[in-house]
């Protein structure tokens, strides 16, 4: 599977409270909350870290099998991309 890179939408505001991210999108002022796994992905979505590295961290930190972790990350990224919170690209780049 080709490598992917995730970048947070530059028009989001966010904080992590007690290990859970709270994200606000400027476009519609909607709030989103993420669980601990989602927060790990969100914090790692710096445009430079490959998704495979995030999957590896999830396996280590949450004791999950790689296949399961990869499936969960794909579903999560799809959902956040649809909401306009994450951008996915095939090459690394500096966040704007």
């Amino acid at each position: 599977m080709p490598e992917q890179y995730l970048a947070r939408n530059s028009r989001t505001a966010w904080r992590v409270y007690d290990g859970e991210a709270v994200i606000l999108l400027a476009e519609d002022s909607t709030l989103n909350t993420l669980n601990a796994v989602g927060t790990l992905i969100w914090e790692g979505a710096d445009g430079k870290t490959p998704v495979s590295s995030l999957v590896g961290r999830i396996c280590t930190e949450f004791d999950v099998e790689p296949v399961q972790a990869e499936r969960d990350v794909t579903a999560f990224v799809d959902k956040l991309s649809q909401r306009g919170l994450l951008n996915v690209s095939a090459s690394p780049h500096e966040p704007r």
Binding site: T12, A13, Y17, D18
Partner: protein, 369 residues
Amino acid sequence: MPELTEWLFERSVALRIPLSVHVDLTMRCNERCIHCYRVIEQRPELTTQELKGLLDDVARAGTLYLTFSGGEVFLRKDLFELVEHARRLHFDVRLKSNALLVTPEKAARLRTLGVRQVDISIYSADPAVHDRVTKIPGSLERSLQGAVMLRDAGVTVKLNCPLMKQNVGQYKDIRALAERLGILCGFDPMITAKNDGDRSPIALRISPKELRTVLQDPTLNPSCGTPAAASAPDGARSDLDEVPCGAGHNACYISAYGDVMPCVAMPIACGNVRDEPFAEIWHRSPEMLRVRAIRIRDLHTCSSCAASPFCSRCPGQALVETGDLYGPSPANCEHALARAQVAGSAVIPASMLRAPTASTRRPVEHSID
């Protein structure tokens, strides 16, 4: 309040996180509004570096919602440097401005930086009325031009209109103007005393009759026409252990001079960021802790007020109006009475039923002199 917003509010109160911080970047202004509550002092305002350090501290404390206000924020030459720094720290940034100094380039830059909203003070759709409030000829036209530039750049714009004697008859025209421009608008019938206790702006408040008229408009008062909220006849409240508001719990104000207060509407200086770190003031200032300890049951008159379902009591308002943080705000009581009447309820605020006696009054612990 939407469910997630309510959850975040409660969680931030429980975790002692200053979720919303209002920072006045300057007290200087290019308008001279007749109702303004700001007081210009001789002390130097916070520098760029001091403000950047403050934003670092406030981000570490967990603040999400950051409002830059003043004074007029565009008079700060470092405004964009500060907004850029704030956005790098992932704050949700909102500006309050009169938009007189907005240009298409500045509007585009705010959009690029991810500023969520700019609130613009507008007092009338009639230039003569608006300009009489601001005391600046041509200010309405220029503010609206700024609003359009921001809108066209993709920034959310809201026209904020305090209602006072001078403009209370104009609110429908302002709403029509906002609709025509495709931007938001909001109205506030509460005019406050100045931050130094000068009560002169209070004379500008609309009359109880005018207030009832405004509250009868369902577009301004969404609860108008809905059945009156239930309140126990004896005034017994079920929220006695709750906090009166977010001031000092998850809301905080920092003046252009570095004073930290529980809220922009509550002028109790708890410390200054030039003397000690923000977190130290937020977590350990005796004044902040005293405000944070207050619960509804500690309010000597409001805790047994049958009109509480109609009231949005502001502790800061009570303090500024009467010097008593634990007592009712006469202005809030008037608003509660008007809301109750509009809703068809016969309840009367407790403060209007009996004057507090020496034995029921708590000592005044804060004053603004």
